[in-house]
């Protein structure tokens, strides 16, 4: 399963904020078509790592390779130009706009200078249909009228609308109920099945074992290890998260 060229490869990345050395030589590999779960306790550096990947707080040092070649990501625009999209925890949707306008927020299509509502609406519809989203009644509904799961769906669909290659999801199910969590996780799985690289940050190990192919464990700014989800167990992952050691002898 782990065959194929890595989509994203980080080697020894460092990031400091003033005197605080948040990331201390982290390695991360994300392969296309696989969900890579990023787990770790609070303060382990998960958010800093994805903000570095997204170019919001670029890494201080370390190698950043995308699709096999070294790249320089110095700002959010560099990341989106490469095809990297981030779905933040607060979703960043405009309640007063409809689904179509939220999916095209800041990148509205135009035809002879005017907003091309027709093309935008059909592309939004296609993207949602392509992700087998059946929970949105109309793409002209205002986002304010949507449930938490539907909002998450819109935010994820926005991330894949732009032929992105890597989608990073920051705790997408944190505020959702049981049924909605299930829907969003299915959606996350479908993204990977379509060949995208997916990085999923989560605190919920049930979720992680349900959808992830790879599990990367961060501990106090260092990568404890990146393992295939099929060959490890919950206990080992919990040990790694809490102690920072992979306990090889602990057979399950």
């Amino acid at each position: 399963m782990s065959s194929g060229e890595p989509l994203l490869e980080l080697r020894g990345v460092h990031k400091s904020f003033g005197a605080v050395h948040v990331l201390q030589g982290v390695d991360l590999t994300v392969r296309p078509g696989r969900v890579t779960a990023l787990v770790g306790d609070n303060g382990a550096g998960k958010s800093t790592l994805i903000k570095g990947i997204a170019g919001i707080h670029p890494f201080d040092e370390g190698d950043y390779a995308f699709e096999g070649g070294p790249v320089h990501v110095k700002g959010p625009r560099d990341a989106s130009a490469l095809g990297i999209e981030v779905v933040y925890q607060d979703l960043a949707l405009c309640d007063n706009l409809d689904v179509v306008h939220n999916m095209f927020l800041g990148r509205e299509l135009t035809k002879s200078g005017l907003v091309d509502e027709d093309t935008m609406e059909s592309r939004a519809r296609e993207t949602l249909d392509g992700l087998s989203v059946r929970t949105l009644q109309s793409v002209r509904t205002h986002v304010a009228a949507l449930s938490g799961g539907q909002r998450q769906t819109v935010a994820i669909a926005r991330a894949v609308l732009w032929n992105s290659k890597l989608v990073i999801l920051d705790e997408p199910t944190a505020a959702l109920g049981v049924a909605q969590t299930e829907q969003v996780l299915k959606l996350v799985r479908r993204l990977a099945d379509r060949g995208l690289g997916v990085v999923l940050i989560s605190h919920n190990l049930n979720e992680v074992f349900q959808v992830a192919d790879d599990i990367a464990v961060l501990y106090l700014g260092q990568m404890v290890g990146q393992v295939d989800a099929a060959t490890t167990t919950r206990e080992r992952v919990i040990t790694a998260i809490t102690t920072g050691h992979v306990n090889e002898g602990d057979a399950a």
Binding site: L105, E108, T135, S138
Partner: protein
């Protein structure tokens, strides 16, 4: 649990069974219940006011003369309100809009009358003055981050001083002949009829074709019945207005005949169309709503938020300058109260009464037109009932309070039911 959310896929609106009057009505009521009241309170209020004043002063209020007069009285304030919609959409405020209008108009009058500039150039200078004021306010708000309330409060005082300086010792400057006509003359009756008919036909045909195209592509579209109702309603409304304005309304027709659509109404409608187009059809307009709805989301989506703020303040002040021209035209010049007194409060009131939210993100240009008419009817009707200014102010203040409360209450309902 997933049943509740999984039952609604093929609802591309175009493919639904045809709408009936009853189903449309039910949808509309559901929308109102959800807190999305739009301009309905203003329209109901307007109807109530017109009925009230008509029964109290049938011999004056309902006269065609008064109707034409009403439009000209309110043109300046309504135009300023249209500009304010852009600033209010961002959740900001411009307290200086009234004196922006006055100062810009004073520049125009000084140049045209005292320095004999050609009127076209003087009007351009007036608009440029508005744009300059808007640029200054917009830069301070967007770059320095000073709250617009404070910046425009300072501009409110400062511009009043600038305007008085421009006017000088005399206390007033004449507006010149051309400007005076703008808010006094009418166009020929036949021309008014043609313009009105063209407006209705263009609206009906364009929306019909648009709906047909969208239905063919399987996109959301308006039911044909709704289209017919809207077009029919517009035709009746425009027809009535033009008919009423085409009656001879001069008290002494043999001396000077007054009939036809006032130029002021043409300017109002034309400006409303241009501004609505900017807001509804351009990328910039979409970004204005986005910034008003969630500035942080807009910023992360790559929208240049300070630029949107700056451009909205510039447009607002430029439109206020046009309002200033209409104010100067109505009173035949600029004096030391032009754009002052109740101008600003009536303009903000007009936008809010019409349904523009003070919290940002929600509002349309047509709100300002409807709200402006409400404010004008109150002022005009109370005047005809020989009510002193004190009563007029109290009533207008109460109406504004009610409108702002409706805004806040409908927001709460919207939050509860998930509509905005």
């Amino acid at each position: 649990m997933s049943v509740a959310t999984d039952n609604t896929h093929d609802v591309h609106e175009g493919r639904r069974r045809p709408a009936t009057v009853l189903s449309l009505w039910k949808e509309y009521v559901a929308k109102l219940r959800g807190g999305d009241v739009g301009s309905l309170p203003a329209i109901l209020g307007l109807v109530a006011l017109v009925i009230g004043f008509s029964s109290a002063r049938p011999e004056t209020f309902t006269k065609a003369f008064n109707f034409g007069n009403l439009i000209q009285q309110s043109a300046g304030v309504t135009i300023i309100a249209m500009g304010l919609v852009f600033v209010l959409l961002l959740g900001e405020i411009d307290l200086a809009a009234g004196y922006t209008a006055g100062t810009s108009a004073a520049v125009m009058c000084v140049l045209a009358v005292e320095h004999d500039w050609p009127i076209g150039l003087a009007i351009l200078a007036c608009l440029a003055t508005g744009a300059l004021i808007g640029t200054c306010i917009g830069l301070i708000v967007s770059r320095l981050g000073v709250p617009s309330f404070v910046v425009t409060l300072a501009a409110f005082l400062g511009l009043q001083g600038v305007m008085l300086t421009l006017i000088g010792e005399k206390g007033s400057i004449d507006s010149g002949e051309f400007v005076a006509k703008l808010n006094a003359e009418t166009i020929a009756v036949w021309l008014g009829v043609i313009v009105a008919a063209a407006l209705v036909v263009i609206y009906a045909v364009a929306t019909f074709l648009g709906n047909r195209r969208r239905r063919r592509h399987g996109l959301t579209s308006q039911p044909t019945l709704l289209w017919a109702l809207k077009s029919g309603f517009l035709a009746v409304l425009v027809g009535l207005i033009v008919y009423y304005l085409s009656i001879e309304r001069s008290p002494n027709a043999h001396i000077k005949s007054i009939k036809g659509v006032p130029i002021a109404l043409l300017i109002l409608i034309g400006l409303a169309l241009v501004l609505s187009f900017l807001l509804g059809r351009t990328k910039w307009g979409s970004h204005v709503y986005a910034v008003g709805g969630n500035a942080e989301a807009a910023r992360r989506a790559g929208i240049n938020v300070p630029m949107i703020q700056l451009s909205c303040f510039m447009l607002n002040s430029t439109v206020a300058a046009i309002g200033g021209i209409m104010l100067a035209s109505y009173s035949g010049g600029v004096n030391n109260v032009t754009g002052g007194q109740t101008t600003l409060l009536y303009a903000v009131g007009a936008a809010v009464i019409g349904g523009t939210s003070l919290f940002g993100g929600k509002g349309r240009i047509v709100d300002a037109l409807i709200g402006g008419t409400v404010v004008a009817v109150i002022a005009n009707g109370m005047g005809l009932m020989n009510q002193p200014d004190r009563t007029k102010y109290i009533v207008t203040g109460l109406v504004l309070l009610v409108a702002a409360s409706v805004d806040a209450i409908s927001r709460r309902r919207a939050a509860a039911s998930g509509r905005v």
